[in-house]
């Protein structure tokens, strides 16, 4: 497979406060708007980011505040790459965690559908996690952008 070029990149880091769920959505939608995305594509990406960031806040740093890192890249061919990382508690059983409707906190009105949303709204989802070390969620989505934008260096 041909390696595609990184055209633009955004890095953000913020504490795991629930106020920052909206901030993360705002950042990602502002950043990818340069690709001229369709309305439905934009809300797909925003929803997936909201899920990943919420999981850091609700699960990874339960009862504590830690750092959430977000990396967004735009690749050649209108491809959006998103990586969300926490250094929280990690996930013991990833297969089980990713099952639709599974949640470790049913008493808090969690639906257990965060991973399901990320999986169905993005083209690819991969999750790496180590107990006690943290979790990294990586997602990609190719947009059906209307016009290919010119990116000029400098």
């Amino acid at each position: 497979m041909k390696k595609s070029r990184v055209l633009n990149e955004l890095k953000a880091e913020f504490p795991s406060l629930s106020e920052n769920e909206a901030l993360a959505r705002l950042l990602v939608s502002g950043f990818i708007s340069q690709l001229n995305p369709m309305v439905d594509e934009l809300s797909d990406v925003k929803t997936a980011v909201s899920e990943a960031v919420t999981n850091c806040i609700v699960h990874a740093y339960r009862n504590t505040v830690g750092k959430v890192r977000m990396l967004v890249r735009i690749y050649d061919g209108s491809e959006v790459y998103i990586r969300i990382t926490d250094t929280g508690c990690g996930i013991e059983n990833l297969d089980k965690a990713m099952e639709p409707l599974f949640t470790s906190s049913p008493d808090e009105d969690r639906a257990g559908l965060g991973f399901t949303v990320m999986e169905s709204f993005m083209d690819t989802l991969s999750v790496r996690s180590a107990l006690g070390k943290g979790t990294t969620v990586t997602m990609r989505k190719k947009l059906r952008s209307r016009v290919q934008k010119d990116y000029n260096a400098g």
């Binding site: 629930s18 106020e19 769920e21 909206a22 959505r25 309305v39 439905d40 809300s43 797909d44 925003k46 929803t47 909201s50 899920e51 919420t54 806040i57 609700v58 808090e108 009105d109 969690r110 639906a111 257990g112 559908l113 965060g114 399901t116 949303v117 169905s120 709204f121």
Partner: protein, 127 residues
């Protein structure tokens, strides 16, 4: 974020949700809706999404949680006016097997019934 709650004389309760429903906002909405349920024990609860601009799976958790409360005492849940991306998220949840999904101007309906029936302000101020 505002959440208007209307009642009518048939003991139905309509919640006009507004803005973005994420984990951060959901707890406040939940408190308001649960207070209305506790206070009035409506026979039917309508959650209206026409004013909702964004929702993630926290919104589904909100709906599922209210469904469980209502089911306990035999009340019925209606989910109304889910459009676009809200509908897409809702469809992933299988909620359509638990609640009835309907579209229409329920706000107008409730306001109309209320002219002859109960006044919203009065009902809302009941503790």
């Amino acid at each position: 974020m505002t959440t208007r709650i209307l009642f009518d004389e048939k003991n139905r309760c309509l919640v006009m949700l507004e803005g973005e429903i994420d984990h951060h906002n959901a707890s406040q909405i939940r408190m308001k809706v649960d207070l209305a349920i506790d206070t009035h024990c409506p026979a039917e609860l309508y959650l209206d999404f026409s004013g909702v601009s964004f929702m993630d799976s926290s919104g589904i958790g909100l709906v599922m949680g209210r469904y469980r409360i209502l089911r306990e005492y035999g009340a019925k849940l209606f989910v109304t006016n889910c459009k676009g991306s809200i509908r897409k998220v809702m469809q992933l949840s299988g909620m359509s097997r638990l609640a009835e999904f309907v579209d229409g101007n329920f706000e107008g309906q409730f306001e109309r019934t209320n002219k002859e029936g109960v006044k919203n302000e009065e009902v809302q101020s009941v503790k």
